[in-house]
Amino acid sequence: MNLKGSKLTAALLLLAALGIAAFAGMNFKAMWADDVFVPEPGFEKRMLSEWFSGLAGTPADTPVYIQSGDEPGGTVLILGGTHPTEPASLVTSVLFLERAKVTKGRLIVIPQANILGFTHNSPQEAHPQSISFTTEDGGKRIFRFGSRLTNPVYEWPSPDIYIHPASGQQLPGKERGNLNRCYPGVPDGSLTEQVAYALTELIRKEKVDLAFDLHEASPEYPVVNAIVAHERSMELAAMTTMDLEAAGIAMRLEPSPKNLRGLTHREWGNYTETMPVLMETGNPVQGRLRGRTDERLALTGEDKAYVKASALGRLYIPYDGDQKMEYRVGRHTAAIMSFLDNLDMFYEEKGVLLENIPTFGELQEKGVGIFLSPLRN
């Protein structure tokens, strides 16, 4: 259809474009609002910039929560939200933040390691902007569902190739915005590299004995329902894997590859004295085989295409039609608690003991929301 344009149509179209930009802009800006957490009263809130002042005043500075028990012991770190597209990571760390009562040692929880990943969605993935849970009082707890990478508004321009500073390893340029490729970090590097540096500094200065980095992976990815352990953590991880298997929770145990650089399970082990552990659960909302992508998929993992893929033997997890959030969080929770038991058993002086954490069975029976704190008015 041949329509003639004029100054009037140009002005009207410009107004329409600005209106759409305003609407889209407000939608995008809504993801800059902080998530609300209700820490268990024993936690003290600090900021990551206290361990690396270069982050002070930047939007990448993220809250760090610390609780000490009455009995002396070691220090354990639970890091969530390295990749905001892996929501069981955030939710598990929030569960510990809102419920844990530390009786021995010290617990550090960082629910949103890459907080700038929570401020936007990945283009062309159709991911939801948030996920929500119903609490015991019928209220809602809403958490953002962000992107795997740091917001490019603050992490640009991406190089064509990201050369990992500590090793010279070459990766696609966008991976410089992937926190779990930037360790041990660089104090004067990109914002993501600075966050990695600050986290490494925290582990070093706080003498963290055991450090968890929680993740999720596609069901068709081989490293899933797995623990990835550095050489220093391998003995503890092997004991934990056996305990979990005995409890009916099948878990792979993978050694951290020595030549795969920039990841927590490698660099935390190489550059600090901690025992690093990375854990993965199966998450269809990340997978390339998925169909309709929305909050329901993020929470339930129910997807017809994955049922077919499972029947064809293409998956690395048992898949009976879903991978519910309570199952994924339950796996992470059970594994962390088992690690803590073994840490206390084999290295008593480094032990950290917690109470009030729901068991795997309780999470399956009651769901996650019931164990999150209702929002205070």
Binding site: N2, L3, K4, G5, K7, T9, A10, A11, L13, L14, A16, A17, L18, I20, A21, A24, G25, F28, K29, H120, V153, W156, P157
Partner: protein
């Protein structure tokens, strides 16, 4: 560097709007309007 980037975006945005007002074909004007949306969001560092 961010200021240079934003200056370039502003320059391209103004050129796009200028072309749009000089264009006689409605559909090409509409195409220019579509281009304006991401440029505004980038200029404001929203997306």
């Amino acid at each position: 560097m961010t200021l240079v980037y934003r200056a370039i975006v502003l320059f391209v945005l103004l050129l796009t709007i200028r072309c749009k007002f000089r264009e006689k074909d409605f559909w090409k004007q509409a195409t220019a309007a579509l281009v304006v949306i991401p440029l505004v969001l980038r200029l404001l560092m929203i997306k």
